[in-house]
């Protein structure tokens, strides 16, 4: 038996090197497993196992009255994909646009907090996080007021002919903004913006200010400094920010439901209706598996790409 005391000689040795992290106690070999057991069991039963159940549901056929049976009916996947490809496409397009907008809007604010805010830094950080504490549904409903037909914002956009351009692009409809793709994208951007700003801020804040001075000393213009020093160093924040924005946005159905119309339905809406109203469980399960697979594929591809080309 080793006592804890006998295991801590480095701290007693004044001339020794900095002590390494303690080795795990031998008598407590089972301790980590006891610590892990309840939480990991929870995740296995209520996160991993449900995915297995869903996989099995997606290849079942039957009806609510007669019950569902596993018949390895893979055609459900094909049917789901062909029936709902517009919604899939919309999810990717809306979530993609929202992610790009979040990056464009979020970067200046993250930069401002990291380098230009001075003593206002904490106040602005609080203001970025504080909206989180008001239910996001209430805040999304507020956009119904802001974007209302004939409201001041829509009137201003109309007189500036912005809506002509967006209508030409097909994201608004005449002089309406509410119930158009633009409203949904605007809502998605708003809802997930803090998820972009915080990782960006974290990686910008880590940048050594002297690197900017060095770039300036070497006659780099501010724009060159940004392009060659600041932005490359903030890439980890850009990558995690875009992932944290894109993934939840692609599965979201709240914005499309509250701010959109039947023409802006996304995959999330379909899964929700199939599961909770139509009660066609196999189709819903297949759809949510396709969504999961598509997102995992895109994310892996994206991480590979950003990892090899920009991060290195």
């Amino acid at each position: 038996m080793t006592t804890p005391l006998a295991e801590a000689p480095p701290a007693k040795d004044p001339e020794g090197p900095a002590p390494a992290p303690r080795k795990p106690r031998r008598r407590g070999r089972l301790v980590p497993y006891w610590l892990l057991l309840p939480g990991i069991l929870w995740l296995i039963v209520f996160f991993a196992l449900p995915l297995v159940y869903q996989a099995s549901t997606s290849v079942q056929t039957g009806s609510l009255e007669e019950g569902f049976k596993v018949t390895w009916h893979f055609a459900t996947y094909w049917d789901a994909a062909t029936d709902y490809w517009p919604q899939f496409l919309r999810s990717v397009l809306y979530a993609g646009s929202a992610t790009v907008l979040c990056l464009l809007l979020g970067y200046p604010l993250a930069y401002l907090i990291a380098f230009r805010a001075g003593r206002w830094r904490n106040v602005i950080l609080v203001l970025v996080i504080a909206p989180f504490f008001t239910s996001f549904l209430i805040r999304t409903l507020a956009w119904k007021t802001i974007l209302a037909d004939g409201g001041p914002l829509v009137g201003a956009l109309n007189s500036l002919h912005v809506l002509d351009v967006t209508s030409w692009l097909g994201v608004t409809d005449g002089d309406r903004v509410l119930a158009t793709p633009l409203a949904v994208i605007c809502g998605l951007t708003y809802n997930f913006l803090p998820f972009m700003i915080l990782p960006l801020y974290t990686s910008l804040e880590r940048i050594d200010g002297r690197l900017h001075e060095a770039a300036g000393d070497l006659y780099a213009k501010p724009s060159t400094t940004f392009r060659k020093v600041t932005f490359p160093l903030s890439m980890p924040g850009v990558v995690s920010g875009t992932l944290l924005t894109f993934i939840p946005a692609a599965g979201d159905y709240v914005n499309a439901d509250l701010l959109g119309s039947t023409d802006t339905r996304m995959v999330g809406n379909v899964i929700q209706t199939q599961f909770l109203r139509v009660l066609d469980y196999p189709t819903a399960a297949a759809l949510s598996f396709i969504l999961m697979a598509a997102i995992l594929l895109m994310v892996t591809f994206y991480i590979r790409k950003s990892g090899t080309e920009d991060l290195v």
Binding site: P24, Y33, L36, I40, I44, F46, G268, S288, V299
Partner: protein, 266 residues
Amino acid sequence: MAVLRWLRRNLVVIAGLCTLAYLLLPNVVVTVFSFNKPKGRFNYSWQEFSTDAWRDPCGVADMCGSLSLSLQIAAWATIGATVLGTMIAFALVRYRFRARGAINSLIFLPMAMPEVVMAASLLTLFLNMGAQLGFWTVLIAHIMFCLSFVVTAVKARVMSMDPRLEQAAQDLYAGPVQTFLRVTLPIAAPGIAAGALLAFALSFDDFIITNFNAGSTVTFPMFVWGSAQRGTPVQINVIGTAMFLVAVLLVLAGMLAGKRRNKQSR
């Protein structure tokens, strides 16, 4: 020319402040419209000033009930996720064991999965088990998705801890239990608190997973969702405004307390 140069130099600041305005605009609207007196069932257009809703915040049927249910679920989910998550975080940082990679990805995946997928698959499990949807299924789901966030928050703090502090405690003849309670836990506390706060906020505000697994139980977000279909009472805005104010005040109080402590330690 001077104006132009000033504009160019402060372009980032202006753009950043515009984004901040975009982020805060809905909260302003929520606050302003909490003083509205709408004509129809929906509180989307301004009619006249009134403090009716503030004087009678629970005047809408079922709203305050759903609010207290949400607070209850959030409190229990926070306790559950914080205890389980802290245990996992300590195990991950302090010990070496098999299947570490698998466990890490089991913790990471719930954060990288669209909510609707988790919600739908969990409902499949409950339906297959014949579970009665309600308070317990919602609580189970909330603990599940809060767990990973707590682990991440606590892990970061425990990792940055100086192991020599614990060794010093043991050199001073503190037993393992005493060391843990008087040295380890106080140092890890900010990480645990951050994780718990995050869990509370996530659970209290969750809609998608709750909507799938709540059955006929109505939490506050579900009440708001339903009211978007039936008619939005002004009281929703009162609750939204109050939550925002309480959050900002709590954070400001925390910041002030931190400042004072810093001054004292100097």
